[in-house]
């Protein structure tokens, strides 16, 4: 599985201006630049501060419930008859997904800024719930922007956010999904920048967000690396994670970047099939452009207009991707593949039946790729798949596809 075509890559990115090669950067209106400067200055100072790190680690241990287990999926491994499959159980975190690692970190930053109002965008609602959760705990006002279409298909998470005291704003502009929610959150931030902290949910957006979200999510990869060495005596041969914006994937991948023999697979949402154009797979079928504060691979038409995406999973239904993934693709360190709606749904059922673990539909894309990859590998080889979130929120979607009213 070694990647011989690249010797060593720079793991100290982004540069001071937030660039990963040609990707990343800071493409926002002037109103927001001073706030980003302030956040960057604060973060670069705190990221190596032992007190800040200790506070973060303490919250992850006692509030989130970390470390999350690295679980050997024995029955599924036997069924697939190839590499040994280990699942990094981010679904067992408080609130049920990896998202909370980041919101805990950013809420700590918000505390240092003294800002009492928090905004967030959300797709599937997992980041919205994770943000509402930390705001409830810290007594901060919380406003979550969510596309009107996602409000419909993720009703349970909308209600969870309301119970947690957050205000959920249904966004009806554009395609009424995650990208439009992000537009609206950026408009709110420009208006209320003096008293508002924007907790971005994925490793994308203007610098320093791609860096700080990655850093907070790297706890996934650091734990997984350590656990794998402890439990198996060696490093994994391959990592697999789903990629929408890509925060769970970059959190798993980044601590392994210098381990040259560890292959990395990011799994995008293939929707009805990449060849149909109805998907959310910019790394498979997009080109570099500028949206939401960063340069990255995007799904756009020949005039540079962002096009509507399609995925059965709300959390992957986004036309862009975090800039570090764009860079990892271009330098060849990670490979990005696509899994269609049907394949993801099949993996959702399979993992539920064979391992008793009900994954999120987002995560199911990664699991579906594991089903393809594992049989091509030897039984002494190891795959770690990030089980990024649990599937309770998706039960209504799956039931509806089955024609069942719950």
């Amino acid at each position: 599985m070694s990647n011989d075509n690249q010797s060593s890559i720079n793991t100290n990115l982004p540069d001071a201006a937030g660039h990963f090669g040609i990707f990343g950067g800071r493409f926002v209106s002037e109103t927001l630049i001073p706030a980003l400067d302030e956040l960057n200055e604060l973060y670069q100072r705190l990221k190596d501060d032992p007190d800040f790190q200790a506070e973060f680690d303490k919250d992850l241990a006692h509030y989130v419930g970390r470390p999350s287990p690295l679980y050997f999926a024995e029955r599924w491994t036997r069924e697939l008859g190839g590499a040994q499959i280990y699942l990094k159980r981010e679904d067992l975190n408080h609130t049920g997904a990896h998202k909370v690692n980041n919101t805990i970190g950013q809420a700590l930053l918000a505390k240092y800024t003294g800002k009492k109002r928090v905004i967030a965008e959300t797709g599937a609602g997992q980041h919205g719930v994770a943000t509402a959760t930390v705001c409830a705990r810290l007594g901060l006002e919380c406003v979550v922007y969510m596309g009107a279409e996602d409000v419909q298909r993720q009703k349970l998470n909308v209600y969870r956010m309301k119970l947690l005291g957050a205000k959920v704003v249904s966004v009806t502009s554009g395609s009424k999904t995650l990208k439009d929610a992000m537009n609206e959150a950026l408009r709110d931030w420009a208006t209320n920048v003096d008293n508002t902290f924007y907790i971005i949910g994925t490793a994308a957006g203007p610098h320093p967000y791609p860096q700080l979200v990655r850093d907070f999510q790297c706890v996934i990869g650091r734990e997984a690396r350590h656990q794998c060495l402890n439990q198996t005596g060696k490093l994994p041969d391959a990592l697999v994670a789903c990629v929408g914006g890509g925060s769970n994937a970059i959190g798993l991948f980044h601590p392994f970047l210098e381990d040259k023999d560890v292959a990395m697979y990011g799994v995008e949402a293939g929707g009805l099939g990449v060849e149909t154009g109805k998907h959310a797979a910019p790394l498979n079928d997009g080109i570099p452009g500028v949206l939401h504060g960063n340069r990255t691979y995007l799904m756009e038409d020949e005039n540079g207009q962002i096009i509507d995406t399609h995925s059965v999973s709300a959390g992957l239904d986004y036309p862009g991707v975090g800039p570090e993934h764009s860079w990892l693709k271009d330098v060849g360190r990670a490979k990005y593949v696509a899994i269609n709606d049907d394949e993801a749904l099949a993996a959702f059922r399979k993992t539920t039946l064979v391992e008793g673990i009900m994954p999120a539909l987002e995560t199911s894309h990664a699991l579906a790729y594991v089903e393809k990859l594992a049989p091509t590998m030897r039984p002494d080889q190891i795959i770690i798949c990030n089980l990024s979130g649990r599937g309770d929120k998706d039960i209504l979607t799956v039931a509806e596809l089955d024609g069942i009213t719950v």
Binding site: A17, G25, R26, F27, V28, S29, E30, T31, L32, I33, P34, A35, S173, G174, K179, D180, N183, L186, R187, A190, T191, N192, V193, D194, G289, V290, L291, H292, G293, L298, E300, E302, N303, G304, Q305, I306, I307
Partner: protein
């Protein structure tokens, strides 16, 4: 000399205030844009700011968001926008035209191709909302080589250090965003605009135009007292929204009707 500099210098020497009018290309119909541009000029707009339709207008309020959606429903692109300006130049060689928009359509066309096509169409400047000076170096090189000005925004939150850096890169005029927020917002604070404009005057001789939140003769006069020019946008675009059903002539007349009292208020300042 670039038409923008010529226009603003002349106004300064006459002690008059420039009126900058923003509409979105192709809103509400592609064939409404050319007559609307001529009408704006006839009623007293001095500089035309032509919006390039974009799918994700992040810095715009609801009125201009809908204008972008209408224009995109008509499939209007950056290429169409440049073609409208080419037509406009056939009968108007003096009014400065600035494109205003977001980076991605320009990125997609390519900086070099864009600069050359824009020059040939008779464009004088461009303002790219999400391309701050730090990210604009590549585009700047191409614009400079054809003599198109890159107009930059300054905001209430811009520090004096940043303002210094921006004025050194800026051309044409400085566009001061009067408030924290999106286009068409209602929280204009004249005292804070006055303080910031005074601060900027200490840094540069570039003319200063102020936009965002100016919606009538009264607010235009208040801002005109402080700045070299006043930008109106949402209040014009709103006419396209209200009158689209009645057709192009009604929209064009409606926009002209908005300009008239604002022009009169600015002229009364002299």
């Amino acid at each position: 000399m670039n038409r923008i500099n010529e226009c603003l210098q002349q106004f300064k020497s006459q002690g008059r205030k420039a009126l900058v009018g923003y509409i979105v290309s192709g809103d509400p119909f592609l064939d409404a844009t050319l007559p609307a541009m001529h009408k704006l000029v006839a009623e007293g707009v001095d500089i035309i700011e032509l919006g390039i339709p974009f799918s994700d207008p992040m810095a715009d309020g609801p009125v201009i968001q809908l204008a972008h959606e209408r224009a995109l429903a008509n499939n209007v692109s950056l290429t169409d926008t440049l073609a409208v300006v080419t037509e406009f130049r056939k009968t108007n060689s003096y009014t400065p035209v600035i494109l205003m928009g977001y980076a991605n359509p320009v990125e997609r066309m390519g900086y070099k191709a864009f600069a050359s096509l824009a020059k040939n169409s008779g464009i004088d400047g461009i303002l790219t909302v999400d391309l701050p000076p730090e990210e604009a170096l590549g585009l700047n090189v191409e614009l400079k080589s054809v003599g198109i000005e890159n107009i930059f925004l300054l905001a209430p939150s811009t520090t004096i250090e940043r303002a210094n850096m921006i004025v050194n890169m800026a051309g044409g005029f400085l566009y001061y965003v009067s408030l924290n927020g999106v286009t068409g917002a209602g929280n204009l604070d004249i005292d804070s605009v006055a303080a910031k404009v005074t601060e900027l005057r200490g840094l540069t001789d570039l003319p200063i135009c102020v936009g965002f939140g100016i919606k009538d003769a009264e607010s235009a006069a208040a801002v005109g007292n402080l700045a070299d020019g006043v930008v109106i946008g949402s209040v014009l675009v709103k006419q396209a929204q209200l009158l689209a059903e009645l057709g192009t002539d009604a929209v064009v007349e409606g926009m002209g009707g908005v300009v008239k009292p604002i022009r009169a208020a600015l002229d009364a300042l002299v």
